[in-house]
Assembly symmetry: C2
């Protein structure tokens, strides 16, 4: 659409993309293309910066037939709070599949990742969560604890939410924000166990390196979406949980087996790589792979896949170009 | 140095970086850090766009202790000439190793890659080419046929150059350009064989997928730098050449064994991965690994390493920031 490189600011991107049906449909389509073998998805390129407690990941996915794909640079530096900065940051580059030239640079500071991750949670819930949600459970009180709820809101109704987090002031702020944003009752739990035992959908959103969600807390009809674990050393869910659930899903097996909760469950010998594990794209294409009864216990492990980035970045670029936003360079 | 993201244009970058001693020293240091184990160098991330005859590579290298590293997006689309565009394009992002945030975006359209590749050729020549160059041989007449000569000029004197290429008009233009730029005699060869037989340093710079440089053309005192082959299917040099040389070098074994000329020689069983193959960084640290006599036949296989990109991008950014160039965004 543009001849140079369209550089978009976070503010411009926020005005073009949010958690809504358009974004949901695009990300869901991305997963279905992946399941149909229409995507080139190289392994994640990762650089650890150990002395600063940081890591930088590069993710990409080329969806065959589209005229551009995203290359995303995403960083997580855990000591950034000491500098008054958020842990995460990031940007994306859209590359033309016609010429190889960069089409757009999206200086979103991780916003698009927040959106597409919230939507992956929504897809997980659409196919695996029970139809009727009595109370939503959220563990963690950071950015994704918010985006996951925004995503879920697209596809399920709920009027109560229970949250547990380890920083009381953050949890207070979260409860205030969420009750205002959605007009729902928010209950602050005294521990993670209460959340799991009392809710029929639980979303884990922490960067924990020690599993805390225990198998003896599970109950009939529960669905768990785990989105916190996206690198080898992170883990929120005890491996034993995977022995007690009826249905296991993930965004992409090749990634979840290396990075996600499934990685630990496989390493512990609880499940094998050959076990029946449903990728989101498979469930999208064949709904019978989703939840089949009210009683099932289900779990979905999200690690974040490049198709989500490509689809969401394309919405940002196309919308911004139509509206004449951005600065054209190069 | 800047708080936002400093976006630099190709023109600004060209005004800050060229093939000179500063750039040479930085790239040479990059290779020595690599040899000393002070670099995190993930495998290249590659996306093929087969239906448009293109590929996109992402390269990176974190040199421990530096406050930033480069992530480079480089594309080669062989049908671009049909659109009146150059085959190659690219850009780099400098990422802070303190916070993980992007520090600078370098919209160099591949210029920095041209420079750092020319310098890698110069390093290869410094340690492996004979001291006295009677005539430089160049195969190919594109951008690297020029940058390689510029690099070589930094470290060897020469007054004659012989070139062979398959597009006569390009070769004519090349001969004119080079004789003007360096004030030297340029001879157009009738074939690649003449170049190899008559020169004591030969640089292969083509994107050929069929090897053309034959072992029976080799002669005492010859050094060959192969820079064209940077992906599995590319090959300029017959595998048999590797059986006839006295000394084999490369930029980085792990890459050359997958992508370079060495990849084909190993696959053909001519040499093994355990053979004595000298990485540039090893020769920089220990000159005794370089050429040891006038008579030796030597070869160096270049695939392009992320340390080169990080070092050259840092020069561009630091110089531009000092001079107040660029647009600050984000």
């Amino acid at each position: 659409m543009t001849k140079g490189i369209l550089v978009l600011s976070e503010e411009e991107i926020r005005s073009c993309v949010s958690i809504n049906e358009t974004a949901y449909d695009a990300v869901e389509k991305g997963f279905s293309y992946l399941a149909q073998g229409q995507v080139t998805l190289p392994p994640i390129l990762r650089i650890d910066v150990e002395n600063n407690n940081g890591e930088v990941d590069v993710k990409t996915a080329y969806i065959h037939g589209l005229d551009s794909f995203a290359i995303k640079i995403a960083a997580g530096f855990l000591d950034n709070h000491l500098l008054g900065l958020p842990t995460g940051s990031g940007m994306m580059v859209l590359v033309s599949t016609i010429t190889g030239k960069p089409t757009s640079i999206l200086l979103d500071n991780g916003y698009l990742t927040d959106v597409r991750t919230g939507i992956a949670g929504a897809i997980s819930a659409k196919y695996f969560a029970p139809e009727k949600i009595e109370m939503v459970g959220v563990i963690g009180s950071g950015a994704q604890a918010r985006y996951q709820v925004r995503g879920l809101r697209l596809i399920r109704k709920f009027s109560r939410l229970m949250v547990y987090g380890i920083v009381p002031e953050e949890v207070d702020r979260y409860a205030d924000d969420i009750s205002k944003e959605f007009g729902i009752e928010v209950i602050k739990a005294i521990d993670a166990e209460s959340v799991v035992r009392q809710c029929n959908i639980v979303i884990t959103t922490t960067p924990s390196k020690r599993p805390y969600l225990r198998p003896d807390w599970l109950h009939e009809g529960l669905h768990i979406t785990c989105m916190g674990s996206d690198s080898e050393e992170k883990q929120e869910v005890h491996e034993g949980v995977f022995a007690k659930v009826d249905r296991i899903a993930c965004d992409k097996k090749s990634q979840a087996f290396r990075l996600g909760e499934l990685h630990h469950a496989i390493e512990a010998g609880i499940i094998s790589e050959e076990a029946k594990i449903i990728e989101l794209g498979d469930a999208i294409l064949n709904h019978k792979l989703g939840r089949q009864s009210k009683k099932e216990i289900t779990i979905c492990d999200l690690t974040g896949v490049g198709v989500q980035d490509t689809q969401i970045a394309r919405i940002a670029y196309i919308t911004a170009a139509e509206q004449g936003l951005g600065v054209e360079l190069g």
